[in-house]
């Protein structure tokens, strides 16, 4: 089913504003997406009518807030195909989700053990593991990426050994757009008894996510890259794993019995949610994911694929453009460089023309360096982008190149 993009755009008030005197063309969706009015209304409604602390009050409002909060958890579990709501832990976002696992996994990592990541990881799925390895005298191994921006699966098979204790991999690369074969990766890892954490930050709003089909052990994502609010995200973990892990943070809510000598901890998922959670954020995330569901993730994917294909074709017509990331399976992330032009200069000028793109290493420095670069220009698309916007973007790039060369 084709989406009615004109109608969808009306749901996003920010899209009608001007930037630098020009209509905004927002192509930085891989950094964060804009929010539909329903999400904003949900936030307002929560604080106008429902605000109360969860899981503790005897009063009516607290009951309502608790029910809504737990309903959000149930919905989100269903959205990603989790078996149980208890497997959904609310965090501040993908980064905290990864840090959480990299911290509590320490008990299973010893000297000489290995963590396997890939060369296309965002810093947030790299540095936590690197620091874990440093603390435990373990080694971080890296699966290389080929010229097209795909994982070298032969290397992956060789790098996963009896010493490997965790595989951490992006579902989708934030720089290249590459969709990694996470199902296959999980299968190979599980053959060796190794758990897998998938960083789903760049996938959640663009692809169907089914954690049970993927069979990954952990899946992390943020609401703000999926039309939801900033500051909240999810760590999905298989129940058997979450039960095995020690708490990440301590405080209220996550405890069962507290004494000065000893404390016992609450059940899942509360064991991992110390302190007052971002109730409003969880409700707004639920609304955002329902917005995706309403439009249909397959429809969104098809629309974004068409935008990517068109933008790639048009961009390639310009002189001296090199696309970084030409994997067979891609989401609508378009990274490129222009011969003789610094990405930063190009980004600055297209911004003057109202087009928001990102430049630099995109928090994936080792990956960008692997392509012999210090940065790229990245245009990334979302549900509300149009072919006319692609035209404006291409015209802006062409004009900027004329000025810079």
């Amino acid at each position: 089913m084709a989406l009615n993009i004109e109608q969808i755009r009306k749901d996003f008030p920010i899209l009608s504003r001007k930037v630098n005197g020009k209509p905004l063309v927002y192509l930085d969706n891989a950094a964060t997406t804009q929010k539909p009015v329903g999400v904003m209304e949900r936030i307002t409604r929560y604080y106008s009518e429902e605000n109360s602390n969860v899981h503790r009050g005897v009063h009516r409002l607290s009951q309502v807030a608790t029910e809504e909060f737990e309903e959000a958890r149930r919905y989100i579990a269903g959205f990603i195909g989790a078996g149980k709501p208890e497997e959904i832990v609310f965090t501040r976002g993908t980064t905290e989700s990864v840090n959480f696992i990299a911290t509590v996994f320490q008990q299973f990592i010893g000297a000489g053990d290995e963590i396997l990541i890939t060369a296309m990881e965002h810093h947030s799925n790299l540095v936590p593991w690197q620091q874990l390895c440093r603390r435990q005298n373990a080694a971080m191994k890296v699966v290389p990426v080929n010229e097209r921006g795909e994982l070298d699966m032969e290397s992956f098979k060789n790098l996963i050994t009896s010493k490997t204790k965790m595989v951490a991999v992006a579902h989708v690369s934030n720089v290249l757009g590459t969709i990694n074969p996470v199902e296959k990766i999980t299968g190979l890892a599980h053959d060796k008894g190794v758990p897998v954490l998938v960083d789903g930050a760049q996938a959640i709003a663009h692809l169907p996510v089914d954690v049970r089909r993927t069979d990954c052990d952990f899946y992390a994502f943020s609401a703000h890259k999926a039309y939801g609010p900033m500051g909240i995200g999810v760590l999905y973990g298989k129940e058997e794993w979450l039960n095995k892990l020690s708490p990440y943070q301590f405080g209220g809510e996550m405890v069962d019995q507290v004494g000065f000598k000893e404390t016992t901890f609450n059940v899942l998922p509360f064991k991992f949610e110390a302190g007052t959670p971002d109730v409003c954020g969880a409700l707004a995330m639920e609304t955002a994911l329902k917005y995706i569901e309403k439009n249909g993730i397959e429809n969104i994917r098809q629309h974004e694929d068409e935008l990517l294909e068109y933008a790639t074709r048009e961009l390639k017509k310009l002189r001296g453009i090199k696309i970084i990331g030409e994997a067979a399976e891609k989401t609508a992330v378009l990274s490129f460089v222009a011969g003789g032009v610094h990405p930063y200069d190009l980004g600055t000028l297209v911004d003057q023309m109202g087009v928001a793109v990102r430049t630099g290493h995109h928090c994936a420095q080792p990956l960008v360096e692997r392509f012999g670069l210090s940065g790229t220009v990245r245009a990334s698309f979302g549900i509300y982008n149009t072919f006319e916007e692609v035209d404006i973007f291409i015209r802006a790039v062409r004009q900027a190149l004329d000025m810079l060369r």
Partner: protein
């Protein structure tokens, strides 16, 4: 020309353009025209941190006056640094340390730069002032 007069001149040059794209075009022109820095100074030692693009800045003192040269791999950055060089190069460390930076606000550069670029500009100014301080210290005869 004093630092103040040079700043005034730049303000007038920029006031000709209404559209920021034209101001950028002018910065690009200035960037392209910036005299090349001696290759031996394009090392990490002269690299200014805090910029998304790389900027090398070299300073030396000649007859009590600071001579600045610079380069960058991004041409707009080069244009910005060329403004600073035009304003400060050829002045004494004292003059540089006393100068205010109001002209950058007046031409709207500061508010118009992206946060990363504004940081970079701040780092360049800091580095120039640091050079001036060092040269000033070196020039002052040590007291007993």
């Amino acid at each position: 020309m004093t630092i103040q007069e040079k700043q005034q001149q730049i303000i007038e040059e920029f006031s000709v353009f209404d559209d920021w794209l034209d101001k950028y075009a002018y910065l690009i022109e200035l960037g392209k025209a910036l005299p090349l820095i001696d290759e031996k100074y394009k090392t990490d030692q002269y690299l200014i941190s805090g910029c998304q693009s790389r900027v090398w800045l070299h300073a030396e003192i000649k007859d009590g006056k600071m001579i600045l040269t610079a380069d960058s791999d991004a041409v707009i950055t080069k244009g910005i640094v060329s403004l600073l060089i035009r304003v400060f190069s050829g002045h004494t460390p004292d003059e540089i340390l006393e100068a205010d930076m109001e002209f950058l606000n007046t031409i709207g550069l500061k508010e118009h730069l992206s946060p990363t670029r504004a940081n970079g500009l701040q780092s360049m100014i800091k580095q120039i002032r640091l050079y001036a301080q060092v040269f000033k210290l070196k020039a002052t005869p040590k007291s007993e």
